[in-house]
Amino acid sequence: MKSEKFDMGDIDIAWCPGCGNFGILNVLKKTLDELKIDPGNLVLVSGIGQAAKIPHYLKTNFFNGLHGRALPPATGIKASNPSLTVIAESGDGDMYGEGGNHFIHTIRRNPDITNIVHNNMVYGLTKGQASPTSQRGFVTPVQVAGVILEPFNPLAVAIALNAGFVARTFIGDMDKTIEIFKKAINYKGYALVDVLQPCVTFNKINTYQWFRDNTYYLEDSYDSHDRNTAFKRATEPDKLPLGIFYINPDKTPFEENTGVYQQNDTPLFNREVDYGKLESLISKYALV
């Protein structure tokens, strides 16, 4: 599964051998290639963490910002130049923990970006503490008696906020993940894909095998347009469903709603100030 267009060649990758991130990287490259996206027209935005290093491993424009802060710059980039394809990608700690407030409000704002979250239910780069999605009882050097907090349910939160596209995949199934990535990127508006992946170093519970045993696909007959059902399926207590939980085809992206592109689709970098108009605005202050 190689994609030359986005390939960086022989580079040093900072992930552990066997890490689920490799699968996500390959899937992403393949997806972008198949969608015929031009690397020069793509911006990959990430935060900090092992997952957030992904922009360094494929050939594209990128904005590797601060921990938890991938979504605000991704919004700013898309809003400043809507012709760019923007993907915000980081780990569960970054997106759901440090960036939790941005996660909520980016969904409300609905920029046309794809939000891919590497969810391995543990903190990797800081060496094995609980993440927001760690399950109850998960023992770590900090959560010594096991996690006592309710796990964060990103899908339920996104559906509750009426996110336009909400999906979950497992990186053990690359073909299905590619299929869902494509739909997410093509969706016009904010699209969340929570990607289950194992951390081979710090999470000995949620392994490849565990995910295989504890996930299943939503049925073919499942209607992804029903928000109430989607919420119900996202909150199932036992096994984790995979697939597209919810699609709302009626949403307008943030950048279109701002009005800035209503009469003029020029990206902001190519615009000029209307000094004549400014002069008349200033002169209005001479009146009463």
């Binding site: 690397p39 020069g40 027209n41 911006v43 935005v45 900090i48 290093k53 922009p55 360094h56 050939k59 594209t60 424009n61 990128f62 904005f63 590797n64 910002g65 601060l66 802060r69 979504l71 605000p72 710059p73 991704a74 919004t75 700013g76 980039i77 898309k78 809003a79 400043s80 130049n81 012709s83 760019l84 407030n101 941005h102 909520i104 409000h105 704002r109 701002t258 009005g259 800035v260 003029n264 990206p267 902001l268 970098f269 190519n270 615009r271 000029e272 100030v273 209307d274 000094y275 108009k277 400014l278 002069e279 605005l281 200033i282 002169s283 202050y285 001479a286 009146l287 009463v288």
Partner: protein, 573 residues
Amino acid sequence: MANLSAKKGRDISVVLCGQAGQGIQTVEKLFTRILKANGYHVFATKEYMSRVRGGMNSTLIRISDKPVCAFIDRIDILVGLNKGTVKHLKKRITPETMIIGEMGVLGDEVENKNRLLDIPFSEIAANIGSKIYSNTVAVGALISMLSVKPEEVIDCLKQFFKDKSQEILEKNIEALKAGYEKAVNLENFSSIKIKAAAINEVKKQILVNGSEAVGLGAIAGGCNFISSYPMSPSTAVLVFLAQNSRDFGILAEQAEDEISAINMAIGAWYAGARAMVTTSGGGFALMTEGISLAGMLESPMVIHLAQRPGPATGLPTRTEQGDLELALYAGHGEFPRIIFAPGTLEDAFYLTQKAFNIADKFQIPVFILTDQYFIDSYYNTEPFNLKNCTVEKHFIETSENYRRYKLTEDGISPRGIPGFGRGLVCADSDEHDQEGHITEDLELRIKMVDKRLKKLDLIKQESIPPELLGPENYENLIICWGSTINIINEAVSNLGRKDTAVLYFKQVYPLHESANKLINKASKTIVVENNAAGQFARLLKIHADVNISHNILKYDGLCFASDSIAEKIKKLL
């Protein structure tokens, strides 16, 4: 009766005092506009409590036949709309102060009843139809002081109430006339008569406040993106740009918090927009990691920081120059920045405009440091001249082998933006190589730090020199920065000393090289600033290597007053 006729160099100060939500703002707005339209120089500023209704707020309006643009303590005429007016302003009321108000409201508070012009605002308004016209009755009483007849201000009223119905306009005209008639027929009316001459040039000038000057400057600088979170007193700039967003194609977004605001704005710059944030106090504290990000990404950024007293929530609606050191040191790690501190409306306009160009040129964060006093003060000034305003875009069209952080002689790597050119634009908050990829090559680390810091030499070459006001052969030098300049300048001019000058810094970091000579030339130096620790004096000692003889500091949440600060300066000379 004291004669308040405006002599040369003497202005009249009118103070309006009332509860929040009672409409003193309407009186202030209408009256100042009438004054300017009739050729009087006018200055207004307000102090107010952090609440939407009730409490006691006051607005100072100065009227003169020469330019006025500073706060003073003295009150010549006090318009009190509420009980408690006299108590609220007792430190500033003198035996000469004339008070206009209702006997029924202020009767108990005013000791010398001869000093009270009894105008029953609400009763007159009620007779016209509703108490809501009280404010216009008060304006009618106020214009009676001038040689302006109600008929002459009807155009002003029409303009002011242009969005209201004909009936409301007519009622307001009636209210204005009634207030005027009541005042001129009072026995002690002559005591408030002003004989200031009308100046024709004033009529053509503009009346703007600090936030409008910053906002207009931003538009002139090509600002097309603002993301911010509301916080007093900085919100006015967000509101201004949002109000004008449709006309100027500005994307104005209220972010979920200040962290998001600045990160969104940095993203916008990355994609080629010209973005700014406006914030205050704790909001800026949240932005500091973003400032550091701008430092590392070498992203342009414009930050309007309207200071208010801290720490923490402090006094939300009051003023202070307490965040200079915060702006100076905000953000972890070492990287260059520029801090402008405009003290005049003109400077606020031109420096904000310049901030966008210079941020883009050097790829650094540039601060516009103001404060509540500056944001909420306004006076008539020449219309801002757009002749020299240009939008300098410093990004390039990239070629195939483009490297975002290319090591160059002067430290500035040409800035590409994604989707413009054939290169890839890689920006990384980690230490990075020339392409923008994460690195732990420690020799390259040194090169990258040097590259970022090297820009400071270029930046210094373009620093704005401090402005010397007063005699060039001075013994004493009064040093100030930002919003205090007009107050200090008026105070020192009124002292009339040939041996004392004022040095005004509108760029406080990095300092212009002339600072050292200008300051060390004086045998006595006094730094006046609106904070408790003397932050600018400290900055001068570190960065200009100068001696400071005295500090005059004020940190009660209010600005300096030109009359009382003059006394303090005089004692030190």
